[in-house]
Symmetry: D2
Subunit: 338 residues, 4 copies
């Protein structure tokens, strides 16, 4: 018998990626679909050729509760929190792909997102859904805040550094594909404005993912996101001065990373810098640490699919944990070449 | 009366970009073309639709001397140095777009390029062709070493920081278009291997541009290059902790940058992070410094065209200085939109 | 002394391409800029790094007449016709890049564009601005209707066939870059919807360019446009059965094409099928006819830049003719490699 | 119990796509991998992150026979035929993704491929693997010639027309992604040569797929292939004059197509022209016929993934038929959005 899962926000990029992964997941069945503006239209009108035999309804907690054991919320921030509250009240577990429950501090939320938190009473209960850090808590949770894409890529690269106290400040320069800008048209996702161009945006702590990254890493982070012309894919390059007396070279640090991520099936420690195509369409992160002994600096490079490990595939990973399914069940791990 | 200029290596990407810029330059005439394997073929066989009415000969100093006042060498490292020596001996000024004369230290060259320097006796005379740093020396030179693309983007971003002693170590994460990998086929320029992918390579000081960057900046630099799927374009994002007591905010630092680059016609200090398309096809660099006062960190973002300011357009800029032409003459400054 | 020219619609793709070409044109000076929604903002707000020292005003015939000898209208269809009328009345010559004056038949316009023609009394006077067909009339005109991109690519490929009565029906399959879809966001220009995809649209005479193509060629045309993921560039592939007894092989047909386009400086007859990059950024068309004698069929392939020969560069070509300037003056002919 | 299948040529694009599809196929197990130059290297050296726990050996019929019930040959033409012969002799069924057994006429092969056929005695036995035309014969075969990508896209579009005698000559203009040019570096797959460009090649019957298309359709075909900058994806646009007295409009023709493809699970007849992304990563073809009654012309547009229905997914479809598995088992049908 399968668990019944729903997807709210199926007309967006993370929504359709959830469909793709869940459709072949052996432990669950998609039983409900919802959307905002696209509600009422067949799924194939938004995504030609996709037909799950389900209507796309408005996002409504009662409808979700009638159809689902667990729901994924792929909704704008501010919108998902009340839906999450009502779903939980109706006994439905929630994986929220939006930003509403990622920051534990309501004041930090208000500053980053420009509005008071809609449901602050749930912040304490929500678990930050990075399995490589909070796996046990996720397994006991009712409400999981699925991490942002940049925080995921950066945390996978940096967690072993900060947990061992090797660094006290990080530079994280990340590159994202255009799907990260979402599907609402604007200067960041119009073809002729972004093709054949690359560039930074929101530097110096201005990006909303900055407090999220610092919350999980516990050290100050100089985070600069960049856009490049690919549909999906993300890299993080983390550099930092190593604490004096660290005694590490690349081989030793790589061994630490391998040990840290042993037993975490969605992380691969590599010998060479990863490219985003090596994880395209998958739930995987690839991570490669190197030590520059001459300069006393560490550089760690990670790659994820911003819609995979950076969003929907990680959400399914969290679902597996929440529902007590095998951790890696149904998670894509074969990159889409070429 | 025009100066006569030649291009050795016209079948490569920097060679044809030199053709494009020089063809409409009012102060010079292209009088000689040379290539390696493509010698003997008409230019239009390599670049359909391009015909300068000139044959493409083998690279030969005597032929260059007979036809040119100045020659651009767009040749592989190790190949250009002897040609430069012979051209200089014959009275032809040289702008070398390759790497042979960028590093002042022959030992550093041998380490970075894996072979002893072919003409070390010219290293002292060669001038590093970054006009924003060495303009006067370039104007007096016979031999200019045109900077690498990554060093150009990084130096424009970081020079004001290091000249003022504001920082003692830099992180420079750069993104390059695929043309930077040249035209010899391989895993870094095959369409299906690089499209829809981004990633770092040669981290931790392994890239040959690292010693070049450190030579010009005078502080240690943690430089990590990245490839992204665009034909041309480059960004540098430089982050560093500011010296305690610096007293700078973004407005003050921006004013310093504006003052530093006043009178340098190819640098534009901007209020917003630049994207590479904003300088596509031009000789320009755009640079945007920001101060994160909360974290005591500066981040400076620059954008160039790796074949423009990062190679051929900067080479023409150096030519203008060498020949006593108006500094900005014939340099493209209008970006190619859309 | 230069002619004074204005650009109405400078915030669009054809508008900024006009800026790029006219800025280095030796016979004219840009003296007026106008836009719709972007009026009042500096040009650099829309196109970073572009500053002509001119304000961007609302589109107003009186302002145009005060500043210009000739104006380019790069405005939506239906909007440009009244502006054109008022400019002509004030003595300003007009090159209209929109569709309002391309069809000679007001009823055909009404059917294709879904509204009665706003200024039908000017249709007889307007000259269709394909210099390879109407050069003399353009030179005597006050009002030129700049051709559509698909009609330009198709006509250059097919004119010699229909003028010689070699064919009585054509299939024209064309590929366009995304800039052809304009800058208003929608499913045809959102990055993630069009990247990594190709496809036809508006087949079987449904595209508005169909009557324009048939008007100029005089035979029925089965025209199918396709979109492919490039910013700019267009190809037309025209196939037709040759009239029995034609007696032509490829060499003979190529000679006819060469003769037909001799003296037309913006058309190059080639031996190999052209790719759109071979004319990128230029005012050129490349065209390659081949005869399949076994099947009695001709296939002619052409390539243009949809914003160059397909729009703005052809508009400047028409301007040269209108103003009595040398025909090829200021027209870019060097393709932008790589 | 699963069937045991092998892949010869796993370092190519169609080879790794076979891996992707077969790895999640419930009816078979991959038991052998082979390659040419890449033999001896781990699979992950060619395709980072891919590890099936199998060595990659040289292509050897004895090794194949020891490990496999069926083998896929993704090898250059001329190379696969002798391997196929030896595998068949050893009792292994063969799906050949190359061109060696597609043409039934050895003389036509010699003309198209420039060499005598290596194993002409097998031509009569080989079955052309287009399930929509030869399903029953495939199910009884030992050796299947998997169709070329262009012939697949064109045949799906045109079969109902020619089978009903509606047309006597076809124009087929096709667009292919770059992966169709294979992985050996050259001017057709170097990033900077093909990005931002589109164009035709090999017109007028010069492309090797022309005789294959005409063999399957039985009428003369004017076939012109085009390359566009996408990694994978293909469209065919087929236009033809309808036989006088046909009496068809779009609705009637669409009904015929729906009837023709009823029971063929990998073809979808659509109301709107398909884009290649709608079938990305799948075994599907989408096809849309329209009738232009005013001109008496039919235009049919199809889209496939050139590596999916155009190569590897169709090969697995053929495998299902050969092995008596459910026809659609394990075939991907969910397009990869975004």
């Amino acid at each position: 018998m399968s668990f019944r899962v729903g997807i709210a926000g199926v007309s967006g990029y993370t929504g359709i990626e959830l469909v793709r992964i869940l459709a072949s997941h052996p432990g669950v069945a998609i039983t409900w679909l919802g959307a905002g503006k696209a509600a009422g239209e067949p799924l194939g009108a938004t995504w030609p050729g996709v037909d799950l035999g389900l209507p796309v309804g408005p996002v409504d907690a009662a409808a979700i509760a009638a159809a689902c054991d667990l729901v994924f919320l792929a909704l704008p921030h501010g919108v998902s929190a009340p839906v999450a509250r009502d779903c939980l009240a109706a006994g439905v577990r929630v994986v929220d792909l939006g930003a509403d429950f990622r920051l534990k501090d309501a004041a930090a939320y208000a500053q980053a997102y420009g509005a008071p938190h809609p449901v602050p009473e749930l912040l304490a209960e929500a678990v930050y859904g990075l399995p490589e850090k909070h796996r046990d808590a996720i397994a006991r949770a009712r409400l999981v805040a699925n991490p942002g894409c940049y925080p995921t890529a950066t945390a996978i690269a940096a967690l072993p550094l900060v947990e061992d106290g090797l660094v006290d400040w990080l530079v994280a320069d990340c590159i994202s594909g255009i799907s990260g800008a979402g599907r609402s048209p604007g200067p960041r996702n119009l073809y002729c404005e972004v093709q054949e161009s690359a560039g930074a945006y929101s530097p110096a702590g201005a990006h909303r993912h900055t407090p999220e990254i610092e919350q999980e890493l516990g050290v100050p982070v100089t985070f600069t996101p960049h856009l490049a012309p690919l549909r999906r894919g993300m890299t993080a390059t983390v550099s930092a001065r190593l604490r004096p007396g660290h005694g590490l070279d690349t081989a030793a640090l790589r061994a630490r990373y391998a040990a840290r991520y042993a037993g975490h099936p969605m992380v691969r420690v590599t010998d060479t810098p990863p490219a985003s195509r090596e994880v395209r369409g998958t739930a995987l992160a690839r991570v490669c640490p190197v030590v520059d002994t001459a300069r006393g600096v560490v550089t760690v490079m990670s790659a994820i699919d911003n819609l995979g490990k950076g969003a929907s595939a990680q959400a399914v990973h969290n679902m597996n944990l929440l529902l007590g399914l095998p951790e890696a069940q149904g998670l894509p791990t074969l990159p889409e070449y070429p």
